[in-house]
Symmetry: C2
Subunit: 117 residues, 2 copies
DNA sequence: AAGTTCAATAGATATATATATATATATATA
DNA sequence: TATATATATATATATATATCTATTGAACTT
């Protein structure tokens, strides 16, 4: 199953000689890595992952007042996590009167999902 | 496309009355969220994401000395990131003489990948 | 208008992270 | 055996993060 292709130094080098050919790393890939890492970082907290999970499962918009009691956390802390998710572009929010409704922006996860599979 | 199912308070409540029914959050989901968040957190840095990307693309084992020049970082910093990936169970390593070879453990990403899609 | 309620922001604090430099360890070569 | 090399660990530091309490802002109710 595991391919035995290896990226490895061929032989021992003379003293002072650098290990490998300098490898060019295209900027495009770096930028993609940054985009994906931004999403991953936002999901890298169990609370935020559960928030996204709940929002995705409900396929619609969920009131913050329903989210807070799911966690043993203060309302401001939940708001803080929602803000992180908003900043990463994973969720959006909409205010209706007193209530704020959050929802997942599915496209935000597409690039990550594609890379991962 | 967007379903209009909403989780929302039905009416305004009397003063002091709690917002919502207490929602039970099963431990199983919490533990799964923690497992996935651990993976996401490890991937939540562009350097680490690129490391995993390179290792996956090579489908085999890659020498650390090939990884270091890909980044504008010191060798110990790259080692630090590789350690984080090891701790998260995303990569494994094998030493052969002076060289250390890293590889992705594909199963480590499966649960996350499944959740995401 | 006054009071209530929901959510966001501000401020404070303790912990975690990314990075560098310096050092240690193991192994290869001369 | 002595020296050089590849990688890992240790230490230090500046920045970021997660959390709390207190406060603010906005909108609804009476």
């Amino acid at each position: 199953m595991t391919v035995d292709l290896e990226l490895a130094p061929k032989t021992k080098r003379a003293a002072g000689e650098p290990c490998c050919e300098p490898v060019v790393y295209p900027d495009v890939e770096r930028e993609q890595a940054e985009r994906i890492a931004t999403i991953a970082k936002a999901l890298g907290d169990p609370i935020r992952l559960q928030l996204v999970d709940v929002l995705r499962k409900h396929a619609g918009k969920v009131c913050v007042c329903e989210l807070v009691p799911l966690f043993d956390l203060s309302q401001p802390t939940v708001s803080h996590h929602l803000k992180k998710l908003r900043e990463a572009g994973i969720v959006g929010s909409e205010r209706r009167g007193l209530w704020a409704y959050y929802y997942v922006i599915p496209e935000s996860l597409e690039e990550f999902s594609a890379w991962l599979s």
